[in-house]
């Protein structure tokens, strides 16, 4: 039975108190004695040759301490891609160097080519204005098709704008082509997965410090994975010995992927701190965030679905161009490939899948994983083409999906895209979605909308995704340059309370509340006596951090394993205290007891004995009670869901309003339903934002037109409805100790196609033969589509 603060309890979050009272500690809140400020000089052209940078005047400006240019970093390493992808012909991907500061050429608007260190940020900004810089501007490479066809290269030294041309599964290519050629019906759709800016509300911030007396560096930074940042800086970029660099991510105000990656600003503040012997701080403003944080999505895809005469799916085939921007960010090569292509069988028994993915360098900001990372793009393509196919062959979109669903008795199921799904029940999710959304009431609601002169549409979606990244052996074979386990240390203190050090790092997910729930459940003690330590490489074991909905499934599993080791040792200590054999000692509800007797000791007494080992079998059991576990998952986890929404469209203006949104998800075991529901809400908000309002626009010269909250439409409260979220139809993950699958990205994966499908349904109900509208479905786009349609 779960304790009231254990597994399954909707415990309120302990971290909330500091956030609600202004006592959070985000990076920019930290102020060191004698700190100075770094300010970056950034390119205002998308593609240019740096002819000269004259720092003479700027160097004499008030408060200026030092000026760095790309010249200062030619001897150090580049910021690498974390995953090596090979093209279909076996050629390794093109991997141009990504320097700390641009040298020779600037490659996107916002590319930093110099940095001024000054007493204050205001003085630094004044000095940046005084730099005399000559940059010869070249034509920008922006459009992906043009980039592949032309000879104007983002990186001259590689002689192409194509990073790689990847096929998945290459051995199935001919069979897929044949299946499509011979099919009874083929539905073809060309679509755009619009480019997004993650927009964590906390801008990035990095503070570098160096102690000349010890040679120790410290970086405080907005990171989702401090150990990975340390490894990248140590092993690849600056070459600082790992043991001489501490990376600390304090409270982090949202990330959504954008704070996974190592950025040049982090290396710069460390190098500057060493040169000056001062603490050097850089805080991004929002304009810099738009220009330099890794963007998301940006796929242009052609997808084909082949069906037989009964509506069975025979094959999916896609050709996609994916933008990687000007430089390869750390996860930029795995996101469009193994986090995307492997999901292109969806929830279906389809026998053949072939994905062709060409990634393209352009003179734009780097593009990398953003909430969902490749899976939203896969789900969007699949669920749009299935909806279109249903219309073309006159089938109900839900029934067509159900006909092709993997059935509960088919698990484990080897998907045609190369994954082994361990569990799921897609029909049950669809049943529950139809029920809780009151689908049967839709006709009446449509009539009400029509009476007001509005069109109403119903859209549906089914998704499966892969979380809990990832089995190290598998990803190693696929090109990963790191392992993807996680780690936890459980330290029982002498007085019986606990500190749990974890490799995962919360940037809003509530780990400080959730991980103690797990340990409390296992040890039968109050969660309030358990604290989480995270975000500081000098305190935590080497874990890989938080992204890909992995924290619970991977790091939570490490917490379980470490706690199991604690229990195993504590039983031995208790056996000694109780003068019994360990095999005769039971542990439950925080008490060790000897079977068949009334002899017992409490968890707290055992903890005290471990640290004050008088009358203790020191030759058989070490003192202390602290255990570490690394957990490497056996497989990905496979959350799935069935979503629907109802939209109202005003035909006069093209304005779309999401009226009802229902998300029924299978996340496996849920530890804290309040937090899980909140994660879904957030994903839905971002997914609806992508579908309706968010658009990143570069003009032909590579100027980012949507570079502020005046120009980039962030969803506001009145753009969004209340959501119905349901977790009642869960199946358990079969291969991790928590049975948990992961919930962080689902909402952003499931909602965009749901909204588009609903809008198309509304168009059709209005007699408009519109089969697709690209996201974001702004009033202008919808109105134009309606006016151009017959």
């Amino acid at each position: 039975m779960p304790k009231d603060d254990g597994i399954g309890a909707a415990t309120v979050r302990r971290e909330d108190v500091r956030f609600l009272t202004g006592r959070g500690r985000y990076s920019d809140d930290i102020k060191a004695y004698g700190e100075c400020a770094a300010v970056f000089a950034r390119s205002n052209v998308a593609n240019g040759t740096i002819k000269s940078i004259n720092t003479d005047v700027a160097a004499t400006m008030p408060g200026v301490l030092a000026i760095f240019t790309g010249e200062d970093f030619v001897e150090v390493g580049g910021n690498p891609a974390g995953w090596l992808i090979n093209s279909r012909d076996g050629e390794p991907m093109k991997e141009p160097k990504r320097p700390v500061l641009a040298h020779g050429k600037v490659r996107h608007v916002g590319d930093a080519y110099a940095a001024v260190i000054a007493e204050t940020a205001a003085q630094g900004r004044d000095a940046v204005e005084a730099l005399e810089v000559e940059i010869e501007e070249h034509a920008a490479v922006i459009n992906m098709k043009d980039a592949l066809a032309g000879t104007n290269y983002v990186h001259d030294e590689i002689g192409t704008n194509q990073c790689f041309d990847w096929g998945w599964i290459e051995d199935n290519r001919a069979a897929t082509d044949a299946a499509i050629k011979g099919a009874h019906h083929v539905t073809t759709l060309e679509l755009v997965n619009n480019r997004l800016v993650p927009n964590a509300i906390e801008p990035r911030c990095s503070i570098g410090d160096y102690n000349p007396g010890t040679g120790d560096y410290t970086l405080q930074t907005t990171s989702q994975n401090p150990h990975m940042t340390r490894l990248l800086i140590s092993a690849f970029v600056l070459g600082i010995p790992e043991n001489k660099l501490t990376v600390i991510a304090p409270d982090v105000g949202g990330g959504f992927g954008s704070k996974i990656y190592h950025y040049g600003e982090e290396a710069l503040v460390l190098a500057a701190a060493k040169k000056l012997g001062r603490t050097v701080k850089w805080t991004s403003d929002r304009s810099e965030a738009f220009l330099t944080d890794a963007h998301g999505r940006d796929h242009v895809t052609k997808i084909e679905l082949a069906l037989d005469d009964k509506g069975n799916f025979l094959a999916f085939r896609t050709e996609t161009l994916a933008n990687v921007g000007a430089y390869l960010s750390n996860f930029s090569t795995v996101t469009p490939t193994f986090l995307h292509g492997t999901l292109m069988a969806g929830n279906y028994t389809v026998p053949l899948v072939y994905v062709n993915m060409k990634t393209v360098f352009t003179n734009t900001a780097p593009v990398d994983a953003y909430r969902g990372a490749g899976r939203p793009e896969a789900t969007f393509s699949l669920e749009r083409v299935i909806d279109m196919a249903a219309r073309e062959i006159g089938r109900d979109p839900i029934e067509l999906r159900r006909q092709n669903f993997i059935k509960p008795d088919q698990y484990p199921f080897a998907s045609a895209a190369g994954l082994e799904y361990d569990s799921g029940n897609y029909d049950a999710l669809m049943d529950q979605m139809e029920k809780v959304s009151d689908k049967t009431g839709f006709a009446a609601r449509r009539a009400e909308s029509e009476a007001k002169g509005l069109l109403r549409g119903f859209g549906v979606n089914a998704y499966v995704e892969a979380c809990g990244i990832a089995p190290s052996n598998l990803v190693g074979i696929l090109g990963a340059r790191v392992g993807l386990y996680d780690a936890a240390t459980v330290r029982v203190n002498a007085t019986g309370n606990l500190s749990v050090m974890v490799g995962a790092h919360s940037h809003g997910q509530g780990h400080e509340t959730v991980f103690p729930q797990i340990v409390a459940n296992m040890l039968g003690i109050d969660a309030a006596s358990i604290d989480i330590v995270h975000g500081d490489t000098s305190k935590i074991p080497f874990g890989m951090g938080t992204y890909g909905s992995r924290s619970l499934a991977v790091c939570g599993s490490a917490v379980v394993r470490a706690t199991e080791k604690i229990i195993a040792k504590a039983i031995k200590i208790a056996a000694h205290m109780l003068e019994a054999e360990a095999s005769d000692v039971d542990f439950s509800d925080g008490t060790f007891s000897v079977k068949g007797t009334n002899k017992s000791v409490s968890f707290g007494e055992v903890a005290l004995k471990a640290y004050i080992p008088h009358d203790y079998p020191i030759d058989m059991i070490e003192p202390g009670l602290e255990e570490t576990a690394f957990y490497d998952p056996a497989n990905f986890t496979y959350p799935s869901g069935a979503y629907c929404c109802e939209v109202e469209v005003d035909p006069e203006t093209g304005k779309v309003r999401v009226d009802r949104m229902t998300a029924v998800d299978d996340f496996g075991n849920v530890i804290n339903p309040m937090i899980v529901t909140g994660q879904v809400h957030g994903g839905l908000g971002q997914g609806i934002g992508q579908a309706l309002v968010e658009q990143t626009t570069y003009d032909d010269d590579g100027q980012l037109l949507s570079a502020s909250y005046m120009d980039y439409a962030m969803p506001r409260a009145d753009d969004l409805p209340f959501y119905v979220v349901d977790h009642s139809q869960s199946t358990i993950c079969t291969h991790n100790p928590l049975g948990a699958k992961g919930c962080g990205e689902a909402g952003a994966i499931g909602s965009p196609p749901t909204v588009v499908n609903a809008v198309i349904d509304a168009m059709q109900s209005g007699g408009k033969n519109i089969t697709h509208i690209d996201m974001p479905m702004t009033p202008h786009r919808v109105w134009t589509a309606m006016n151009n349609a017959q």
Binding site: V12, R13, D16, V17, F19, L20, T21, G22, R23, G24, Y26, D28, D29, K31, A122, P198, A200, I201, E202, P203, D251, V252, G253, G254, F256, D285, R286, S287, H507, G508, Q509, G510, R660, V670, P673, M674, T677, G678, H681, G682, G685, Q686, I688, S708, Y709, M710, M714, P715, R716, A717, D718, L720, F722, Y723, V724, V725, D726, H727, S728, G747
Partner: protein, 166 residues
């Protein structure tokens, strides 16, 4: 050009010498070390920096410190009850999970205080409209709207479509 500015912040008189271009948010964060007021944008859109000046919600990134000369300023650090416990709005945000990363939260709480002063029982639509100047990227707003309505004393279980967990 340095100017001395004097104001009351969270009931305490403060006096600081600042540059003319110093923003109120900078004075609060850097000089007074009240870092609960956050900076999330540079165009007065996100609302993470909302404080009250003479009882009105103001984006402190858009006001010079010297413009608050003599004013009564209150920030997120001054919102808890006298005994340190969460006030009604703060408690509702915790109870209804109206925050995740916490970065927009101080602005949300300060804006809510202002809303409920003007409109003690706002409808869902009124809440959503009032939040126009406060951006949250984590919550999809569901639990923020719910928390605000709960803080106003309304029964949110009958308002918000809710999760069904069995």
């Amino acid at each position: 050009m340095m100017t001395t500015v004097t104001m009351t912040v969270n009931g305490k008189s403060v006096s600081e010498t600042v540059e003319g271009r110093t923003l109120l948010s900078t004075l609060l964060r850097d000089d007074l070390r009240l870092t609960g007021t956050h900076i999330g944008c540079d165009t007065s859109q996100c609302g993470a920096c909302v404080v009250h000046v003479n009882g009105k919600a103001v984006k402190s990134c858009t006001m010079f410190a010297i413009e608050a000369q003599g004013a009564e300023v209150s920030t997120i650090e001054g919102q808890a009850n006298a005994d340190g416990s969460l006030n009604v709005i703060q408690q509702a945000f915790q109870d209804h999970h109206g925050l995740q990363c916490g970065f927009c939260t101080p602005g949300m709480v300060m804006t809510t205080a202002s809303l409920l002063k003007e409109n003690p029982k706002p409808t869902e639509a009124e809440v959503r409209t009032y939040l126009e100047g406060n951006i949250c990227r984590c919550t999809g707003y569901h639990n923020i709207v719910k928390a605000i309505m709960a803080a106003s004393g309304q029964d949110v279980s009958s308002i918000a479509a809710e999760q069904l967990i069995s």
